[in-house]
């Protein structure tokens, strides 16, 4: 969806050994061609096979012609076709129809809300046709990787299995039946020590053709993050007419140039958010930064060019539109080159968030689960709250934020998993850890018959860090800090919601803390009160205090947080530095130009998905930005300004938390 920002070091777009890259492409092709999930029936009798034989036979199997109906269940809301652009998010449940001729030709019909998108590959050319805008885009074969030109399920399976084989333990887990065909169940589990958030990949392999019929990807939670199956499948020759595309009458035909060759991998790259497919967030093969334990970013990050994915038009936009700015620079060719480096500098400065303190994260949970009866409130969460960060916890109501915080503070026992608070185990280390933790959880709790000051005195009297004589001044200082000094003598009963909230904050801050946990701190506060809370949080951060903040107010989190974690139905679906996650859903580039038609032609020709926008062009996705700008300049399209659309947390949040029902 976005073009590549110039500031991205090449390594961010690459990965070690190219495994993830292979997976991206493989899965794209896999989906396109019809890898599969379906509910297993009774296990049929099949001759025994060893895992190694099965793997080898999958990798070496001859391509087979087939036709299939392919249901896709994508729980992460990530692009099912990496690089295909924001309009191709097959999140939730959808069913595609797939044909393959076994020799590089293929056809996919992908239903969209109000249209159908058709991909046809044959003879080295790919056509993309959308019935909504009646635009047919013709894309030549990939220049340096011609083998990618086909939509071949065997090739896709071969790439997945081959990519995972070296780092996984392979096993055969019995037999099953998919869409009436007997199949072996192949299980690939990452070997211990592999840095991946992937837990298991299961593939059902057709016993006869050795074609994978089903692919299930498990992450940290109990439900698969991705499941692709077949409802029905038939092997055998297909009508050749399926693999040629004839533009319907009245269709507008556009030509796209071949995608640029992929840049060379860089040694030692440690990408935080890379790629634009779910591989970047489910399969993590590079070194994992501490602050991105589960970097399941939603949406698409800057994509690697040249994966053979078709460039598409993007009638839908996810990033908020804003009118392109003319950057004040002289119009013309110098604009792109002068804009790009400046943007680089901005990004660098954004990355300069506080380095994790040497004494480890302020809080750490591993495989944390909490089950209430039949409801799983928190489901296998791994999370680090880096010391010194302002950590925002986001999620819809009922997503497990408060339960997670309560387990962190020892108020609720986890069903399973471990918790560390300030480096000490919970609950055993709580007496040592809690004196340095201030918390406002589930709203302020005070006695209505006592005044604000008396309530706070009671809290302060129980603080181990306060000596007797220090209690009174500490209480006064805390009241002053939250602006309650004037109302301290009144009974709590008569406080407004905002005053109650402030008193709760005062209790959390009555002694200097190392970690402050604030659960919905701005509830009931007016805008001025919200600003004051922000000021308090900023103040805490300046003095090196870690702040863990849960909120449903995205603007609040965006304004104060350095890191975020997003919970959805008890599972962590994204976590990491805020700006990196935002980059993953970054808006496209806004290009101010007087020649909209020319710019669109050049950009689409370069493989970008671009659309006309108020006063210019918006590039949602495509090759790295510098290439696009260079192409524009070469084509002598006048460029008046370039601006990165500002990504916002709401886009991110919506992407991650909505979708499947």
């Amino acid at each position: 969806m976005t073009s590549d920002p110039p500031a991205d070091p090449p390594g961010r777009r690459l990965r070690r050994g190219g495994i993830a890259a292979a997976l991206t492409a493989a899965l794209a092709v896999a989906l396109t061609a019809g890898l599969v999930t379906a509910r297993a029936a009774a296990a049929p009798e099949l001759p025994p096979v060893t895992a190694e034989e099965l793997v080898a036979s999958v990798i070496e199997a001859e391509p087979v012609a087939l036709a299939a109906t392919v249901p896709v269940d994508n729980r992460l809301g990530l692009p099912a076709l990496p690089g295909a652009g924001s309009d191709l998010l097959a999140e939730g449940t959808s069913t595609a129809r797939v044909w393959s001729d076994g020799a590089g030709g293929g056809r996919v019909a992908l239903p969209r809300p109000d249209s159908e998108r058709t991909y046809v590959r044959g003879g080295g050319t790919t056509w993309v046709y959308d019935s909504a805008d009646r635009v047919a885009t013709r894309i030549p074969a990939h220049a340096d990787r011609p083998e990618r030109a086909g939509t071949d399920p065997q090739a896709a399976a071969r790439e997945i299995v081959a990519a995972l084989r070296d780092t996984s333990t392979v096993a055969v887990d019995g037999t099953t039946e998919i869409a009436g065909r007997p199949a072996y169940t192949l299980v690939l589990t990452p070997q211990p020590g592999e840095r991946t958030v992937l837990r298991e990949v299961r593939a059902a392999v057709d016993a006869q053709t050795r074609t994978p019929l089903e692919l299930t990807v498990l992450g940290a939670g109990t439900d698969p993050v991705l499941r692709i199956g077949v409802d029905e499948i038939g092997f055998g020759p297909q009508d050749p007419a399926l693999f040629t595309f004839t533009p319907p009458p009245g269709a507008q035909i556009e030509d796209a140039p071949p995608p640029a060759p992929a840049p060379a991998p860089r040694e030692g790259a440690a990408p935080a958010v890379v790629g634009d497919g779910w591989d970047t967030v489910v399969v993590w093969t590079g070194p994992l930064p501490e602050d991105a334990r589960a970097p399941r970013s939603p949406g698409s990050a800057p994509r690697c060019p040249g994966r053979g994915a078709p460039a598409t038009r993007s009638p839908r936009t996810r990033a908020p539109r804003s009118s392109p700015t003319t950057a004040g620079s002289p119009p013309g060719r110098s604009a792109p080159t002068s804009s790009a480096p400046r943007s680089t500098g901005e990004r660098r400065s954004m990355s300069a968030v506080p380095s994790p303190a040497p004494d480890g994260p302020a809080a750490r949970v591993r495989e944390l689960r909490k089950v209430f009866g039949r409801v799983t409130a928190v489901d296998g969460v791994d999370l680090d709250v880096p010391a010194g960060s302002v950590f925002g916890m986001l999620g819809p109501n009922g997503s497990g934020k408060t339960t997670l915080i309560r387990m962190l503070l020892g108020l609720t026992r986890p069903t399973s998993g471990t918790v560390q608070l300030l480096g000490r185990p919970v609950p055993g280390g709580l007496p040592a850890a809690l004196p340095d933790v201030g918390a406002l959880v589930e709203g302020p709790g005070f006695h209505p018959f006592l005044s604000g000051r008396e309530n706070l005195r009671r809290v302060a009297a129980l603080e181990p860090r306060l000596t007797g004589p220090a209690i009174r001044p500490a209480v006064d200082a805390a009241l002053e800090r939250v602006g309650l000094a004037g109302a301290a003598g009144r009974r709590y009963r008569g406080y407004s919601l905002g005053m109650k909230q402030r008193l709760g904050l005062a209790a959390a801050l009555v002694v200097p803390r190392r970690l402050v946990v604030l659960d919905e701190p701005t509830n009931g506060l007016d805008p001025a009160g919200t600003r004051e809370i922000r000021a308090v949080v900023a103040d805490l951060r300046r003095s090196g205090v870690t702040v863990l903040l849960s909120s449903h107010l995205l603007s609040e989190v965006e304004a104060v947080c350095t890191h975020v974690a997003v919970l959805k139905r008890g599972a962590l679906v994204a976590s990491g530095e805020l700006h990196r996650l935002l980059d993953a859903v970054a808006g496209g580039w806004e290009i101010g130009t007087t020649d909209v038609g020319g710019a669109l032609r050049v950009l689409r020709g370069a493989g970008a998905s671009a659309r006309a926008d108020d006063g210019g062009v918006v590039v949602d996705d495509g090759p790295p930005a510098p290439e696009l700008f260079a192409a524009l300049v070469r084509a002598e399209v006048p460029v008046h300004g370039l601006r990165r659309q500002r990504p916002d947390l709401e886009t991110l949040f919506t992407r991650i938390t909505e979708g499947d029902g």
């Binding site: 108020l411 609720t412 026992r413 040592a432 004196p435 006695h447 006592l450 009671r458 209790a507 002694v511």
Partner: protein
């Protein structure tokens, strides 16, 4: 940074002091204590008035003011004193949980076992104060409004209390008897308090605690009235409650007092165990 320094728990004196403050600042505690002080006065007034305008001969003979605290304790123990303890126990854990303040205590942190001790202390303080209010008020009211027995024919001057057995006890003996009644009552209330705290630890609705205690007391009465359940009777806490009248007998029969105290001790232990186990695991 302060975080590096080792933490020493809050001293007990501060912990219990905070709880004491909290209990005594609560309006319902103060109102309850006032009522307990008032009840013996009302009883004394009633007795004095029924004795007629100029204190009849009968009242002079049987006017026996120092029996009043014992009688008041006995009357209040049937319902009102357990109610007061139950209210304190309900507020102590379930009430704190309902207000969200139990979280604050655990996060302070007050260790869970320390919290049990702190809360038991608070309930015990209420029980002590309630019994003290009844005894002090009953003694003063009995002495002032009803007066000492006028029994010169029987015992000469100096008799303070006529026992139920008819003997006359001197003031020192009378004071000991009243003190014994107070201590015994306190033991019974401690048992009720422990059970109420245990219930309180299992709920976050104070009303559940109150209804459990009152319902429990009524239930024991019902159970005691069923002949088929005769073997159960010695173990019911209310069974021994008429033993408090024994302090007015001469010589003092200890058997009933001891038996009922043992039953109370049993309740206390069960309550304390449930309370401790529950508080160690409780969500706040």
């Amino acid at each position: 940074m302060s975080g590096a320094a080792p933490v020493r728990p809050v001293p007990w004196s501060r912990l219990l002091g905070a709880e004491l403050r909290w209990v005594l600042r609560r309006p319902r505690t103060l109102v309850g204590l006032g009522l307990f002080a008032l009840v013996p006065v009302l009883m004394a007034v009633g007795i004095a008035l029924s004795d007629g305008p100029s204190r009849s001969l009968l009242s002079q003979v049987t006017g026996n003011g120092l029996t009043l605290p014992v009688a008041a304790l006995s009357a209040l123990l049937t319902l009102l004193l357990p109610l007061a303890v139950a209210v304190a126990a309900a507020d102590a854990i379930a009430g704190e949980s309902q207000h969200g303040t139990l979280r604050g205590l655990l996060l302070a942190p007050v260790g869970r076992l320390r919290l049990v001790v702190m809360k038991a202390f608070g309930v015990l303080v209420v029980a002590v104060l309630a019994v003290a209010a009844v005894v002090v008020s009953g003694t003063v009211a009995g002495w002032v409004l009803i007066g000492p027995p006028v029994v010169p024919l029987v015992a000469g001057d100096g008799g303070a209390l006529v026992s139920l057995s008819g003997s006359v006890l001197p003031l020192s003996d009378a004071a000991q008897r009243i003190g014994l009644a107070a201590l015994w009552t306190l033991g019974q209330l401690a048992a009720i308090g422990a059970v109420a705290l245990a219930v309180s630890a299992c709920t976050e609705h104070p009303l559940v605690v109150l209804s459990s205690v009152l319902g429990g007391l009524i239930l024991t009465g019902v159970l005691a009235a069923i002949p088929a359940l005769e073997p159960l009777r010695p173990y019911l806490i209310t069974t021994g409650w008429d033993a408090v009248a024994d302090v007015l007998r001469d010589p003092l029969p200890y058997r009933g007092l001891a038996a009922s105290t043992l039953v109370a001790l049993g309740h206390l232990l069960v309550g304390a165990v449930v309370l401790t186990v529950r508080m160690r695991r409780r969500d706040a």
